[in-house]
Symmetry: D2
Subunit: 296 residues, 4 copies
């Protein structure tokens, strides 16, 4: 069911139509926003144009023609290309233009982007999201924001369309990224631990279905545990959240821990297990495929 | 609300009135079972006698005077004392007497107990439970059983009174213990990871309440994550599940993994963190106190 | 070159002719000791009888016919069989008979054995050794002893024949075992780390021979690093120290750490890597085969 | 004793007079090389000028006035400042000028530096060294080199003065850095494991001196184990190799492992222990201070 959102009249840009961006844009369109999209491989824009979106020719053009431009791409490298590259975001920024970075990347890159936007007179908000493919499709993301408060307020109807909850964590750009990383570190460690439990169950002669049932009934019953134990049971690893992105987020968390001198023994072990899963060829599979590393 | 349980007319014994046993016995009594209790420190029997229980003088006497005797104590040592000790369970076993071991212990001890009971003509069921103090109080445990099928069936009304779900995992004594260990290994690793996440949040300048809120909204929202993040926030570590028992269960899981050649990198790291928490003096506190080791 | 040892005139018994026992007995014989041997598979005694040893029919008989009996077998189970089994050591112990346990086992078993020997009027020394096949062959073991001081002194010529150094760690039986476990935990972790380094070298396109050469020249140059890096280079895993014994020792160390509340994050990770190597089928290979787990 | 080195007539520059650079320059001077030094805090140049060195005013000037310029500074940031900064190395590079980077840094930075030097017509060699303060002082470093072969040959007398062994690993800049990181990862993990062993020894009531003695006699006896166990015994942590540099090197190794999909469970655990030691305030102490984290 669509939520009754009163769309802002501002023109919205959206850069990146990957697993996450697709759902987010569709929800912006459904709730009546005017959206201009751009994607590195232009072909992906087609369905969205059909659904009512405009198509931009490059990031700079999108930013110029819109009031607020969102971006949600795979990693820091993609963000840097997008922002600092030829015909990139920065070239479209003029005084008052608003840019909201929703990708999950490292803090330094987020701050570099924020500073570059501000230096050009633009307005910046970081707004990484919690949730993967399905919450993105269903407008059930959690949006963690930090930076310009007025821009956060202006994003109200967009955030309502894309998410079930938005939190403003203050003006300190980087805070939202730090929280996002911590959440994903926890998520990744839980799934790695689930994988070890399921692998062990099989080794000691238990029926994995029984184990999954008990998990679904007990005090750890939550969407992640239920869905990922089912994925493991059925060996279905189509990517809701690609394993290599998960591992990137744990890596970034560990580096953040390094910076603030926080040891993270459990997360560090989980990180190595994800590396092993990448080595086994599951980088593009769902994070549940870490089971393959645990049971190898 | 009490569940409408039709109590078995059989006489029920219950050995052990610790954190778990207290709730379990109260639910047996409430649902109309005739229960004879025994506890190492006899004083604890008082409230239960007031609530309608009989009091046995030693384990052997309880077993002799009852049809089915349950036991739920702290660890393998306590079980061995209880079963093999002076005036212990074994001395009360005669042909047809039923004994149900609900403690979470290592597989070898469970099998030794089962064999000793059977050798005396007794009937044995292992039935460790999933859930801690509150589910025990509320009759919401999950009961994992293996061993004699008829005894499992005879326990129907007792299991209904104590739990929300019972699973029979086959006649192979040890299977339920193995599943219980795996579940607790997972639980312990999740809480250790939560502790690392909360410690990190504090270190990077985030409000732990914001983090707890996002956890409660996201795909990992479950009773354990909600309650333990609250316990960490409030630094309230009264024992729902004592940390040293949790660590014992991870240790037993790792030894089980050793036996079946299953590496468990993530659980092994969590285990060391719990050892650290014990060293810091939190062995008797709730498992949430592993936070103190993570943030030390 | 044989060391100029003046052999004790006492009659020496030796139980266990495995990888370690073979070298130890040969050095006792070479240095002129009168040795009676026993081994579970009797065939192995042949070469030693040829070299001048007497052959005992069972442990009890060896103990009865000798003044001091040494034992060096694979693990706690083997020690328990040997000591407490039919025609076992205990049945041969009478007042004043001396028994020296040189196996690397857990502390509890060592203490149980010591108490059982003492209870029968026997004299007990624990004396686990540091060193594997080659030092055993060359009489270059390090002998760690605790228990009866006079027996330690009486073993002087035997220890001289078998080792390059003996340390008496006090009368507290268990102390030598604890030190032995710690040393083997360190050894095992170093070799696991070496394996990770060599696996990584290969992955990043370096010549493993160059790496081994640098290791042999640097501040970490020692027999273990030199020999194990060569073993890895040549993929020659004939057992100097069988991998499953190594893993058993780390497991026992971790359990000891558990008892004294000492977290051991690095050793715990190494332990899981050895489990993985066992799973890959390298339990009977040399510890260097942990490389296969690291590079899998 | 000085080694009989025939010094090259080429003019040598040296940038960086930290723990490592001090010993290296002194050996270049002692063996008769003409050396021009520069250091960020100029005061440190004094002793070297007294010993016969010239003093440069900035990196660019040193490079201009010398044939071959070596650099050995703390980390990637310092290297980037040195090379790309104002009056930096790059500004002194003209066709044929030779630059040898001996710092231990990440591969990407090393390659960036190499490319920038080459782009200006300079000649580049990476040459990180194995060994800490004492080997630097004694001219006993191991020098790992990759890049321009002719430059490597021209460095012959300098490398002879500074080291006991130089290896040329090919023209692929980055190879020497990769090997250096792997060696330091191994070193760091060994010392972390030693720290755990010594902490455990103390906890189980052993005399740490006995343990250190056994380590010095056994198959793991090497300068690192001997010196670091003594440092731990005496709680003397003056920096031969500063702990935070060690941890940086393990971090870089883990990131390298990430890139090539090599899981490193043991090194990852060691890394977290070093982070803990930094948190306890031992970042500037010797790596042996990781004992404080292990025994905390």
């Amino acid at each position: 069911m669509r939520k009754p959102v009163i769309p802002t009249p501002m023109r919205i840009g959206f850069l990146g139509l990957g697993i996450m961006g697709q759902g987010m844009v569709m929800n912006l369109l459904r709730s009546g926003h005017e959206v201009t999209v751009w994607n590195r491989t232009a072909l992906k824009c087609k369905d969205f144009v059909k659904a009512g979106a405009f198509k931009g020719n490059n990031p700079a053009e999108v930013v110029q023609s819109c009031d607020i431009t969102f971006s949600c791409v795979a990693d820091s490298t993609a963000v840097k290309d997008l922002v600092f590259g030829n015909s990139g975001v920065l070239q479209g920024i003029t005084r008052g233009k608003c840019y909201v970075e929703m990708s999950t990347i490292d803090e330094e890159t987020m701050q570099d982007v924020g500073e570059a936007i501000s230096a050009r007179g633009g307005v910046f908000l970081e707004a990484p999201v919690v949730g993967s493919r399905v919450p993105a499709l269903e407008g059930q993301l959690i949006i963690l924001a930090a930076g310009d408060r007025k821009l956060y307020d202006d994003c109200f109807s967009c955030f309502e369309a894309m998410g079930k909850k938005a939190l403003f964590l203050g003006s300190d750009v980087g805070a939202a990224t730090r929280m996002k990383l911590i959440i994903n570190m926890f998520m990744g460690t839980v799934v790695a631990s689930l994988a070890e439990a399921m692998a062990m169950a099989e080794k000691v002669g238990l029926d994995q279905e029984d184990v999954a049932e008990v998990f679904s009934l007990g005090a750890l019953s939550c969407p992640t545990v239920i869905h990922k134990s089912q994925a493991i049971l059925n060996q279905k690893y189509d990517p809701h959240f690609p394993l290599q992105h998960q591992q990137k987020d744990i890596r970034l968390s560990l580096l953040l821990g390094d910076k603030v001198e926080q040891p993270l023994y459990v997360a560090a072990a989980a990180n190595e297990l994800y590396k092993k899963a990448r080595r086994l060829g599951y980088g593009d599979s769902d994070i549940a495929a870490v089971y393959r590393a645990a049971s190898a």
